[in-house]
Amino acid sequence: MIPSIKIARKYALSALLIGIFVIMATIPGYIAPYGPSERFGGYQTPSTAHIMGTDDMGRDIFSLLVHAARLSLLIGVVSGVLAIGIGVIVGLLSGWLGGIWDDIFMGLTDTVLILPKIPLIIVMAAYLEPGPKLLIVTLGLLSWESGARVVRAKVLQVRTMGFVLSARCFGFSSAYILSREILPVLFPVIVPKFVLVTASAMIAEASLSFLGLSDPTMISWGVMISDAFTHSGFIRHMWYWWLPPTLCIILGVCAITSIAFLYEGRTRELIQL
């Protein structure tokens, strides 16, 4: 009982923060006092009507902050799902098939690993229409390599273990063994990898938005910081404009990462199989 209370306490703060962000992302209309495109007087300081003031276009900053959660989390989570999905498939096949297939898949993985991601995304954004879809696809397609390597290493370790050899003896198909016998054992390494990729995708989204390489009409925390920078928010010392989205990114990434580390810590026995 006592250890479970301790674990619950460790998770509590991270879970609370993630819970708040998820609520902001799913029902922003119930939390934000105004719509994201409603306009008032520009550059207002915090007041009872606008607790974080207004931006250059007169939009309520608190309302923008709430509405921006959806896109920031969506880009992070969907990129994470895409990256870990590709990574798991490549890692499983590479470790299981071995031989020439292992060489091909790992060659591909090493190629993606050495690609400079941000410069590549900048070039892609210059030629393609920047927006959430491009960010999700690009971040997802360029972030699977570390997951693939971890999964492959684990498959190489697990494939000679008794329970996998037993499954082969019973005549189960490779697809069955990979999906039902090996994949569940890999969850303790896949889940932390997924949340870390999600966190790094959120940072990448903020970085690219700050560089002005995302759709300027979309509302995300990165775009809010970029707007504050390019529309005199920093010069006017409007910390209430750029600081809240910055804190949301930092707290979101920290909460997601700490959940990953706590999960990894709890499942260490299974990881060390």
């Binding site: 050899l165 003896c169 039902r180």
Partner: protein, 228 residues
Amino acid sequence: MLILHADCIGKEYRKEGHKDLVFSSFSVDVHMGETVGLVGPSGCGKSTCARVLAGLEKPSRGRVLYRGKDIHTLTRAEWSQFRREVQVIFQDPVGSFNPTQTIGQSMTAVLKHVHVPGDEHENELAHVFHHVGLQMEILSRYPDQISGGQAQRAAIARGMIMQPRVMILDEPTSALDVSVQAQILHLLTYVQKEHKIAYVFISHDIDVVEYMSHTIVKMQEISCKMKK
């Protein structure tokens, strides 16, 4: 009747350009209902040989024949039959079960695989568990929540579901304490008498092998075959 025959098999692994020979020129005949003991010091290739005999690895040279046919040239249907009829019991009984599944889930997966209808699973499990002397209550436990002896009995029960003709027992008692070893050996003897299963019994313990086997093959002297 000869059921499994290894014809001058050898196994080597390629490591960084050079070949690492595990064992070579190993031949053995396994007859229906008999036990062939395979004995040798640690590292002589007994477990590798077991995997080759079970079709889990291809031999680098020689052939393994099951019912007179090379197991690596079998048709799909013949391979399915081979997979059903040749089972392996591994040294680490707990490690033979998936750590993320309960014993019941592992058992049910095999029952589904051999197309036993869902409403007959409980009766089938009760039957094999009674056979190996296990209580049904362990079905809800995970592998690390049962003893080594229970895990080895459960592994034998799971193998029995397939109704095998040959069982390759790779050091089945070496991870168990002496009293449990004796129980497992008695169980294996009883199962063999009941079902006329052929055993390939692998161990580094010559006394255990002598107790269990009709024929003994020493791996360090591969060409030497001793008849008891």
